[in-house]
Symmetry: C2
DNA sequence: ATATGTTGTGAGACCGGTCTCTTTATATCA
DNA sequence: TGATATAAAGAGACCGGTCTCACAACATAT
């Protein structure tokens, strides 16, 4: 009874060749499925391969062909439904084209992102999809391009980087959602995001290093400004990174003398935290506070009331990013562009009509 | 202005060696961080490497060392919160030990699982964590062992396969949950799973090819039998694979002359579907029907009422599986065993007390 | 002074595939 | 029948690292 104690040198083409009494080159042709070999020899080799349980060493194969058949994906946090859906879309696109996917988590931290990118390049991935944690640090991404590895940005664009990006139409989405809220009579609206920040507040939109969030905030602010509502920036709050932080943010927001009547959650995690905060404060939605969340997450449809959301079609975004990357890998001639996946507002029950 | 049109042969140790005017072997020693090299030469080589922007080719490195630094994970469905949490646990354990993770989706299909396993073996992963779709087809897994690649099963055990497994204490969990329901006065209980099946019903527990589900059903049935309740198998229903199927399953269950008063959902996806089914049937939880779901998914805590669940501690399961696999990879001498992560019942509001 | 040990460097085999180039066997044609 | 085209198989270089071994230079022991 032999066991797996020893790494046991695996069966190689040479072994198969010897067993089939042909040259290594011939066996390789059969096993690699290239070149031309007679039917008789093919059978011989296949039989020998089956008998020896030959499995090709993809590593070696990659090394000589220069292609690994792998695309690397660096995301902020796989646990986030946004990213797991996106990864699903990417994987589906990849599988269809015969590629596999390595996923790396950056935890939205620049250093982790850099080392993940370096590692994947080292593994000689055929292409890379990255959700850049910050849009103001681009050396490592520029290096990817210099290394000749196709790159597609996901969810966030970096105009200075001459590279494809697949994002939502964040600005428009925020505008639509905000207009809907003002249309329902809301005059004091807050935007809450999980972005790291020293304090809740925000002084300068341009300093938001995540383009998706920045554009949403821009959209949000533009609608409020256009509607003549005062001091929109005052109601943009960051730092809702966990339940406790969120509880604090919400409590501060609502204890304001001019407390907002509606909240816009930057993603479904923040949305869920806000929902729980409101619940623990004993506030009812939408009677006491209205809310809209980004992303059609599971939980949003089973709450009471169900949550009005911005459907980001993340799966499509992922799929599109995957397809785009594969087109690049296959050298399809295409202009560098930013692909925007359009979102839609799904009205459910979490927004009250007020005023009049 | 050069661009990334050409794969541009990457910088190799030989290039660095030439630039540093030393032999390839010496440059390799410096860059690979092994052997012994004088400080002066080390500096020369490092300078040359920096100037040329050398990045090691991990593929080549893996090929000569025989280690890839990658562990492969084959899961049923990444989109399922159960697996994404588990993957997070595995990834964390892996990162801590300096490994990376490749994830492959089997879609709970045997063929996809087989080819994923083959592919990962081909990529020469250092170890493999697999959630076997079926416990009665084990050739491909046996082959993994014969190939000398450490293997850890996740969520489901296969006793015939002499290999480590990390699972929940599914039997006990089901027993606890079922006892809780009978303790609340329920006499007719149903167990609903997403397992594929020709018809809803179940004739023979032993034929359930997923050990986690089988053990839960065994626990479920044992409690009912012990309590002297008639025909427990009648209330075990499979095939709740999507919303429509689940609607059918629930409708049939509840239109039974002796309809169950409580439902046990095999996982959080099934739980969510059941919740939606009941909602669409206009039934109220727990007044009309009680339910318990496996897995502490996001949605279970924000419904009205919040759902009583079996907390599976999936992150810990994943982490444990990762750690175990890494111990195997590093040849730590350990007996093959099945590690059970204990679960706990989290009582919330979805179970009514009836009778008396 | 010669033998022995140590340290740093170079030469080249090796991992397991792919792929080009060459050689051999068979088919086609004048 | 001999010349030439063509198909099939073999030999061996190559990818970019690691790593063993040989060897040189210098230090220490005898």
């Amino acid at each position: 009874m032999e066991d797996s104690a020893h790494p046991k040198r695996s069966v190689t083409v040479a072994d198969v060749a010897k067993a089939a009494k042909v040259s290594k080159a011939t066996a390789a042709r059969v096993l690699g499925g290239y070149g031309v070999v007679s039917a008789k020899i093919t059978d011989q080799v296949m039989a020998a391969a089956a008998a020896l349980e030959y499995r090709p060493n993809e590593l070696a194969r990659s090394m000589s062909t220069g292609r690994s058949g792998i695309i690397g994906v660096v995301v902020g946090d796989i646990e986030n439904a946004f990213f797991s859906l996106a990864v699903r879309g990417i994987s589906d696109a990849a599988r269809l084209a015969g590629f596999n996917v390595i996923i790396a988590n950056s935890g939205e931290e620049l250093d982790a992102e850099k080392s993940a990118v370096d590692l994947l390049i080292g593994k000689r991935v055929d292409g890379l999809i990255v959700t850049p944690a910050r849009c103001d640090s681009i050396d490592h991404l520029q290096h990817v391009r210099r290394a000749g590895v196709p790159l597609v940005l996901f969810d966030r664009a970096i105009p200075e980087l001459d590279v494809d990006a697949v994002t939502g139409d964040d600005r428009d989405a925020a505008i639509t959602a905000t207009r809907y809220l003002t249309g329902q009579g809301h005059r004091r609206l807050a935007y809450v995001s999980a972005m790291d920040a020293e304090d809740d507040g925000l002084t300068d939109i341009a300093r938001i290093s995540n383009s998706a969030v920045r554009e949403r905030v821009e959209g949000f602010v533009s609608v409020l400004t256009e509607a003549g509502l005062p001091n929109p920036l005052h109601y943009v709050r960051l730092g809702a990174t966990n339940q406790q932080q969120t509880d604090g943010v919400i409590k501060r927001l609502l204890s304001d003398s001019a407390a907002p009547t509606a909240l816009l959650a930057s993603d479904s995690l923040v949305g869920l935290r806000i929902f729980k905060s409101l619940q623990s404060l004993g506030l009812s939605i939408p009677k006491d506070v209205s809310m809209i969340s980004f992303l059609d997450a599971d939980w949003t449809s089973v709450t009471v009331p169900p949550i009005t959301i911005v459907d980001q079609r993340v799966y499509e975004m992922g799929k599109l990013a995957g397809e785009r990357l594969i087109a690049r890998i296959e050298r399809t001639p295409l202009a560098v562009e930013r692909l925007r996946v359009s979102t839609s507002l799904v009205v459910r029950g979490s927004v009250a009509t007020i005023g009049r």
